[in-house]
């Protein structure tokens, strides 16, 4: 029954059941809770203001920002970008496993995602420590005020995301998610991808340009 239904859906975009077309069904698929997406939009807005503020400040204090960026460790920024992308990748794989009903595999993939993300945290802490060793802190100048504010704010989001992933992994390991009850999992995964997406904008803005 299920296989026949699957074949009908995949082979015929005009397939209908109870008056709902296949394309219409796909259109309706917003992963996770609607409330989480509004929260994500709010977070993106806050970060957009910070990013634009950073860019405007750089134009007003060009030399200070060039000197400040020269003191940052670009390779650590690159490593952090690669780790967050990889962590997001494992979360996407974990969600796939959960969609297929394999809670144990999903939990294992989430643990890998968190281990990879912990590299980000270690590198970030090392980066802060090496700046403190050079007597650079949040009060040094406008560049470092913005640098510490934006990157620390992002780090807090990573930590919150990791807490969310821990809860999701525990529930997934106990097979508490199923086809009709996976919204919480999808919401947590979407939040984690948002954290990744924000770093993808933050990295070139602070470390590359």
């Amino acid at each position: 029954m299920s296989n026949q239904l699957n074949d009908s859906i995949n082979s015929n975009p005009e397939f209908t059941l109870v008056g709902i077309k296949n394309e219409q069904i796909l259109e309706k698929c917003l992963p996770g809770d609607l409330a989480m997406w509004f929260f994500i939009l709010a977070e993106l807005t806050v970060f957009a203001i910070l990013f634009i503020g950073f860019a405007v400040s750089e134009q007003l204090n060009a030399e200070m920002f060039i000197e400040g960026k020269a003191k940052l460790h670009q390779i650590s920024g690159l490593i952090n970008t690669l780790t967050l992308i990889t962590s997001s990748f494992f979360v996407a794989l974990a969600l796939n496993a959960m969609h297929k009903g394999d809670g144990k595999k999903s939990a294992k993939l989430l643990v890998i995602a968190k281990l990879v993300a912990s590299v980000y945290i270690a590198v970030k802490v090392w980066e802060y420590m090496s700046l403190f060793d050079q007597n650079i802190d949040i009060e040094t100048n406008t560049f470092f005020t913005l640098y510490f504010m934006i990157t620390f704010f992002h780090l807090m989001h990573v930590l919150l995301g990791m807490v969310i992933l821990i809860f999701i992994a525990m529930k997934a390991a106990n097979n508490e998610y199923n086809a009709s009850n996976i919204s919480g999992y999808e919401s947590g995964a979407s939040y984690w991808h948002m954290v990744d997406m924000l770093w993808i904008i933050l990295f070139p803005l602070i470390y590359v340009i």
């Binding site: 008056g19 134009q59 991808h193």
Partner: protein
């Protein structure tokens, strides 16, 4: 009766949503290709300054890569490729408009 029909339609649509979602969107191969593409773009954007000397072109290239990476995350990792158009457009609008605004600030 009317409420019963609504509940039936709703549960079926939820089931079908999950079913089609699983088969047409979620693909480990697609995720893996997207991950490799994102990794490659990250390395390119980090070192693109070594080959592009023009400041405006360099900034535009880096910000264009931000858009490409954002689009991958939104459509593949966040699985919004088949989400309601409004939400996909909102997120894609973010990774399009923000780099454009930042680009204008730096280049103009």
């Amino acid at each position: 009766m009317a409420y019963g029909r609504y509940a039936l339609d709703y549960s079926l649509s939820t089931y079908l949503c999950d079913l089609t979602f699983m088969q047409t969107i979620n693909s480990n191969k697609k995720n893996t290709l997207s991950w490799l593409w994102l990794m490659a773009l990250t390395v390119i954007s980090t070192f693109i300054g070594l080959v592009i000397n023009n400041k405006a072109l360099f900034i535009a290239s880096v910000l264009f890569i931000v858009f490409l990476k954002g689009q991958q995350i939104i459509d593949i990792f966040m699985e919004l490729a088949h989400a309601p158009k409004l939400w996909r457009r909102l997120l894609l609008g973010y990774v399009t408009l923000l780099p454009i605004i930042i680009g204008f600030i730096y280049i103009l």
